[in-house]
Amino acid sequence: MPFAGKKLYDALVVGGGIAGIESALNLANNNLKVLLVEKDLTLGGKMIMLSKVFPTLDCSACITTPKISEVARHPNITILTNTNILQIEKQDKNYFKARIKEKARYVNISDCTGCQLCEEACPVVVPDQYQYDLVGRKAAYIPFNIASPRVASIDMDNCVLCGACEKACPTGCIDFTQEDKEYEIIAKTVIMATGFNLFDPLKIPRFSYGNSKNVITALQMERLLAPTRPYNHVLRPGDGQVPCNIAYVLCAGSRDLSVGNPICSQICCMYSIKQAQLLMGALPMADVTIYYINIRSFGKGFEEFYEQAKGMGVNFVKGKVGKITETDNGNLILWYEDINQGKVIEKKHDLVVLSVGVLANDEPKKLIQGWEKDEYSFAHQKDLFYTPSLSSIEGVFLAGTTSGPMDIPDSILSAGSAAMEAIRYVKQTSIDL
């Protein structure tokens, strides 16, 4: 359903990751009119960037894209991408007023066919945030092949206003005069599905991230392994060589008071084991070593998945990595405390992956009054054991990683839970808008 400035909705869903998508579908299938607001250019959140997903090794795009397609054509769902929430206010009569800003894309969405001719024409190259800076993109660009909507956008921060794209576009949909638009909408209930942030490994200088090109994050590895990958092969970014001795550093930025994050991120053990399995397939000659404190394979089928990785020959070493240094040829030396022997050991690797953890996205705090957070900045769950999806505000529900680290299956279940409560809430508030 196109937006066209429509004002009234049953539910406002903030965030178009897997949790937001799943919430929106659940609400819409029960006849609620939903406005789904995503601040990024495309729906899909982190999940659409992943390669395959544990423990079933389904291809992530194959799970996400059909769901997105269903959202995109659902008669009860209106989608706004590239849109910020400015402020949500609860009004006395149990409804919410939200001010939102749809940012200019400089492309007319409905006319863009996604032909990518503008991309070819654009002379500007900048790091591609959707490939986690592994490769470049143009200033006029489509985020990635399976983006939704799959339309172009002009990155005004980097555009040189040469007008090449405008000339190249066969449908004339590029429009440099576009401006941000602000709207006010009203909804009876709100679901916050604003997701999580990844730990920034620059905060741990001993890991050399940023200095050594062959130290990468797990999300960069996801991109290297994904079907829509940048190099069509797993190569190390430093020199394009095929790595043959890869190390994973678990709990990077988690369970670590020195970086202010004492909790466990709950997903990184498993995604590292998954990547290790995928690497064994992609690079049959490579050795993969996982340095861990504890392996947390607790979910359905997870322990079996861990055992499978051991069976495939992934090397698990119980040890805490102290520092990583680079040698002349871009190889890396990893210093770790071997828990068995109680001493520090050096090991050479040619690619190191930091299994960075989950941090709260505490943006909602700025968006809505009365929002309370827990001691780790995740959403406060007001009635954890009765209505886990209830936030500190009546009528505002929590889906996915907004309330804490979660994998995809748990995010999906929590989205179902939030949607159920939201429907119930809407039913009991008998206001006709």
Partner: protein, 643 residues
């Protein structure tokens, strides 16, 4: 015969095209009889391709469509919806699986994989050529739901469904509701006790007109299918009338009972009578007589006239549109001698220890009249088994143990805690508890996977020995006053639910969902959903989330008065039937009956299209719609000719 067929071959972003030459497949089938369009696509399921397909179908008036991609389990529904959107009947769509059946298993042989893919796609084309448009069957739905199990998941689901205006029958096999949480005094990440939580849920349930709660209620039979199930429920009597409200008299009656049996509520570490209560805030608040141990001596009836040993069991027949299963878990029961269980007197399970902490007076924890100071916990008992069948991690137990140990010190400050772990798994925010325990002087050891710790009892002393990882296999030992086996979760025992409802179980023996991410609460039996720990280990919050997800799904089945169901069912040609009765014997769903004309007839809404009746019919009078003999034969012809 379809003559305007569209064929789409998917790269699956490399999942297929890395091993199958999809362009070659396209070329090989493009000239096939009836094929009008043959295309390859990066992701057939992506929105852009779906739109393209709709356009192709409309512009070229395609009359049949084949997509060669992943397993039909994943996306057959997706593509059927696409052709429907383009105005084509969805039974003119045929799915070819060239990922799970080709690219993944044959990654070592690209030429062979490509050849096999060609054959599979050609067979699908042969089938679609003969395909016929059929319409889904419409059934009236009963707008009521049966929820099985009144633990936290079942109760939450029942409450949510009732608030949507749905009639809910909530049946609980035990005489009291609450499931396992009723037994826990201490829960993690909250100060609420299990008892308080149950009483909140109970209050909401009994005050709700839409929920009918039955305790002592067991499913004994179930017939029908989505939209219209008929469930038969056996109600065991309590033998104590609800009008029994005089607590004093009841107490005397209970004390008069001469029978003593282990009390399951306390996991057998205390005794109860044959007539018993669970705990002061039990729900419903009426005592019950356990007829398996009652000797019918009549002593209690002499004291209280509200007791009636002659109450009879009753049967209920419930008509519902959908069933939500929330039968929960049992704590694993260790084998005789497993870490000394049942052999060494002071070895007990975590469940027993939690009850012991709950009912013991503050400040003097005792076990069999001896004071307890040192507590040793042995983790992963019955989970992560190296030799046994339970390969899985039970998820809740590391956190539950540490939390129990931490909170025990509020009541029993003298306790010291020694944890014999296999690597602590306090995932997420629960990590804070592990941190707190380490800070408060709890001692943690970790054993090697192949070298578990040992419990020994000598000279009246029980010791736990471990070759610890942190000290490079040096043997360490702790003398313990009580050894707590941290037992994992297993599915509820003596449960005939899966047989009655024909629900499949996974390798871990828990109920299986269809797909963890696409259809996480649905089972292969349409209209039956699963919630809580019966699907796999979960803590309370996770159980509630899954319960509400199941509730919303269930509501989508019963929220409307009509439902569309699959028409891929068996069909009898009456002229050919000689009524030999073989088909009714072969049908696992009782879907076939003898009609007034004396021949076999299929009850279309009950038939699941499994095809069991087809091969047994001596006159070939039964055909399965969309899988008719000529369709299958045409596929075999293609496959065989290619060889």
């Amino acid at each position: 015969m379809k003559q305007r067929i569209g064929v789409y071959i998917c790269h699956c972003g490399g999942n297929i095209s890395d091993y199958v030459d999809v362009e070659k497949v396209r070329e090989a089938v493009a000239q096939n009889d009836g094929v009008l369009i043959a295309k390859t696509t990066m992701f057939a399921c992506a929105d852009s391709n779906q739109k393209g397909m709709v356009q192709d179908i409309k512009e070229n008036q395609l009359d049949g469509v084949v997509v060669a991609s992943c397993s039909p389990k994943l996306h057959e529904i997706t593509f059927k919806a696409v052709v429907e959107r383009a105005g084509l009947n969805k039974y003119n769509y045929v799915h070819a699986n060239i990922r799970e059946q080709v690219s993944w298993p044959h990654s070592d042989n690209k030429a062979g994989a490509t050849q096999k893919a060609i054959q599979i796609v050609k067979a699908a084309i042969a089938k679609v050529r003969l395909s016929e448009a059929i319409e889904p069957l419409e059934v009236d739905t009963t707008q009521a739901v049966l929820v099985i199990g009144a633990g936290v998941a079942g109760m939450k689901a029942a409450i949510s469904l009732s608030k949507m205006g749905t009639k809910v029958y909530l049946i609980e096999r035990e005489p009291f509701i609450g499931g396992r949480i009723a037994q826990w005094d201490v829960l993690c990440l909250t100060n609420e006790t299990g008892k308080e939580l149950v009483s909140r849920l109970y209050t909401e349930i009994v005050s709700n007109k839409n929920i009918a709660l039955y305790t002592g209620a067991q499913l004994v039979d179930c017939k029908g299918s989505i939209g219209n199930f008929t469930a038969k429920v056996k109600l065991s009597p309590r033998y104590v009338k609800e009008t029994c409200i005089d607590k004093e008299i009841l107490k005397k009656a209970i004390n008069a009972c001469p029978v003593e049996v282990p009390d399951e509520f306390n996991f057998g570490i205390t005794k109860r009578r044959a007539i018993y209560h669970n705990f002061p805030a039990e729900y419903p608040q009426t005592a019950v007589i356990d007829m398996n141990s009652c000797t019918r001596c009549g002593k209690c009836t002499e004291i209280c006239d509200k007791i009636d040993l002659n109450m009879k069991e009753e049967f209920l027949e419930l008509k519902v549109g959908s069933i939500l299963v929330a039968t929960g878990f049992d704590p694993y029961t260790p084998n005789e001698g497993e870490f000394g269980y049942n052999v060494i007197d002071n070895v007990i399970t975590l469940s027993q220890f939690k009850r012991l902490l709950a009912f013991s007076e503050p400040g003097k924890l005792q076990w069999h009249d001896k004071p307890v100071k040192n507590v040793a916990y042995i983790y992963c008992v019955g989970s992560r088994q190296v030799d046994g069948n339970n390969k899985y991690c039970s998820r809740y137990c590391c956190t539950a143990t540490i939390n129990t140990a931490l909170k025990s010190n509020d009541k029993f400050p003298e306790l010291n805690h020694f944890h014999f772990t296999r690597g602590i798994r306090t995932y997420g925010k629960q990590e804070q508890l592990y941190h707190n325990a380490s800070k408060s002087g709890h001692v943690f050891f970790q054993s090697y996977e192949d070298d578990p710790c040992r419990v020994e009892h000598k000279n009246n002393k029980t010791t736990v020995k471990i070759n610890d990882i942190l000290t490079n296999r040096k043997e360490l030992e702790v003398e313990a006053d009580i050894v707590v086996l941290v037992t994992g979760m297993v599915p509820r025992s003596n449960n005939n639910i899966s047989d009655i409802l024909k629900l499949p179980r996974g390798r871990d023996n828990f109920f299986n969902e269809i797909h963890m991410k696409l259809r996480p609460v649905e089972t292969v039996i349409d209209g039956i959903t699963i919630a809580g720990a019966c699907q796999g280990p979960k803590n309370v919050v996770e159980s509630i989330n899954s319960a509400l997800s199941a509730a919303i799904k269930t509501y989508s089945f019963v929220g409307k008065d009509k439902l569309m169901v699959k028409p891929e069912v068996a069909e009898v040609t009456p002229d050919l039937c000689k009524w030999c009765d073989e088909c009714t014997k072969a049908c696992p769903f009782d879907a076939i009956f003898k009609n007034e004309q004396g021949v076999a007839q299929v009850n279309e809404t009950v038939c699941k299209g499994c095809g069991m009746c087809l091969p047994v019919c001596p006159t070939n009078a039964i055909q399965l719609k969309t899988f008719s003999d000529i369709e299958i034969a045409s596929m075999i012809d293609v496959l065989a000719n290619e060889l």
